[in-house]
Amino acid sequence: MYDGGKILAGLAIFVLIFTFPFWYNIGNAAYQRPKLEKPKEKNCVESVEFMRADHMQLLNEWRDEYVREHITTYKSHLTGKKIRISLTKTCLKCHPNRDKFCDKCHASLAVSPYCWDCHVTPKGDSNEK
C-alpha cells in the first residue's frame, strides 16, 4: 500500500470526527421527557400518542388544506367532532404558553420549527424583544 501511514491516519481522523457526537455527550445524563403544562381540556384533536409523534405532519396538512384548498374544518378521529383548522385559534386556545409547552420538547430535542417566525403566540414568546 502506497502512503499506508497517511491513509490510516486519515481514516482514523475521519472516524473520530464522524463519531464526535458520541464522544461529546459521554457522561451527560440520559434524555428525559420534559414536563409540559397540561391544559384543562381532556381531549386534544387526536390521541396524545398521535399528537406527540405526528403533530408536525398534522399541522403541515392543516396548513395546506386551509391556505391552499380552502378547507376550514377537520374531523377528529378521536371524538368525531369537527374542529376548526387554525394554529392560533384552535391549538393555542388550549396551549397558550409556548415556553411551557411547545418549546419544552423542541428545545431539548434541538429543533426550531419556523411557525413562530410569523404566527403570534399569546404568551411565552421566547423571541420577545
Binding site: R63, R68, H70, T88, K89, C118, T121, P122
Partner: protein
C-alpha cells in the same frame, strides 16, 4: 431537392407537432385564470367621488392594524392598501394635465386588483401565489422562496417584499393574524379570513359606504347594481389581466 416518403413523413410529423404545440402555448397564458361563471367571484368597487382623504386613511389604518403591516420608513416598505394619485393609478390616461380639470392629482386607493388572469400567478415557480376558486389571488407564505418574480410581473405595483424582518417595525402584533417573516413577498389578500367568516373586508367596513364589495357573478349583488348604474374603469385594461377592483368616476 429529392422528395421521398421518409421526408414527407418527417415533415408531416413536425407539422403535427407544431399544430399541437401552438394551441397549448395559447392555453398556457390562460392556464392560471379561474374564468368560471359558477360560484363566487369577489370584486370591489371604489367610489372615487365619495372617498375623502380621512376615509382613505381610516381604511388603511384598519387594514394595517388587522394584518400586522409593518411601518417601514424607506422604499423597502410594505403596503397592502395605500393612497395614490390618479396620475399614478392610471398612467397614460391622465396625460393632458393643462386642460382636464384636477383629476390627475386627485387621490384614490390603490391595492391588489385580484386579476381574473393574474400574471403573478403565472410566473410564480412554486405556486406560492395562486388563485382561489372565488378569484382571490392568495399567498402561501410558507412556500414563498422570495425570488420576487411576481413583483416584476405585477403591472400594478401591488406587491411588497420583506427586505427587513417585519416584526422590528411593528408596534403591536395582532395575534389573530400571522405576521410575515423576512424574505417573502406579500400583498392584499382581499381579507380572505373575513370572507370565510361571512364578513366584508376591513377597508370596506371602514369606508362608510364609499367602497362596495360583493359577488360579481351574482346579477343581484350590490357591486353588479352599482356597476350597471355608473361609469367605472379598471387599471390598465389593455394588458388583459381583468382587474376585479373597479373605480367609479
Amino acid at each position: 431537392m429529392k422528395s421521398n416518403r421518409r421526408q414527407f413523413l418527417a415533415t408531416l410529423g413536425i407539422t403535427a407537432l407544431g399544430w399541437s404545440l401552438f394551441p397549448n402555448l395559447l392555453k398556457a397564458a390562460e392556464a392560471t385564470s379561474g374564468h368560471s361563471l359558477k360560484g363566487k367571484r369577489w370584486a370591489m368597487v371604489i367610489d372615487t367621488k365619495k372617498l375623502t382623504v380621512e376615509i382613505m386613511e381610516k381604511c388603511i389604518r384598519a387594514c394595517n392594524k388587522a394584518h400586522n403591516i409593518p411601518h417601514i420608513p424607506d422604499k423597502k416598505e410594505v403596503k397592502w392598501i395605500w393612497i395614490e394619485t390618479f396620475h399614478h393609478l392610471f398612467p397614460g390616461q391622465m396625460g393632458d394635465k393643462t386642460h382636464v380639470s384636477e383629476y390627475p392629482e386627485k387621490k384614490s386607493l390603490c391595492l391588489c386588483n385580484h386579476c381574473e388572469n393574474p400574471p403573478c400567478v403565472r410566473v410564480c415557480p412554486t405556486k406560492a401565489t395562486f388563485q382561489r376558486e372565488d378569484g382571490i389571488v392568495m399567498m402561501d407564505f410558507h412556500r414563498c422562496i422570495g425570488c420576487r418574480y411576481c413583483m416584476a410581473a405585477c403591472p400594478f405595483g401591488s406587491r411588497s417584499f420583506n427586505f427587513y424582518d417585519p416584526r422590528k417595525f411593528l408596534k403591536e402584533e395582532n395575534p389573530n393574524f400571522p405576521t410575515r417573516t423576512k424574505g417573502v413577498v406579500e400583498k392584499c389578500l382581499f381579507c380572505y379570513e373575513r370572507i370565510d367568516e361571512g364578513k366584508k373586508p376591513y377597508c370596506v367596513e371602514a369606508a362608510e359606504g364609499a367602497i362596495y364589495f360583493g359577488d360579481l357573478n351574482d346579477p343581484h349583488s350590490e357591486v353588479r347594481k352599482v356597476l350597471a348604474e355608473r361609469y367605472a374603469i379598471t387599471r390598465k385594461p389593455e394588458l388583459g389581466t381583468f382587474p376585479c377592483v373597479y373605480y367609479l368616476i
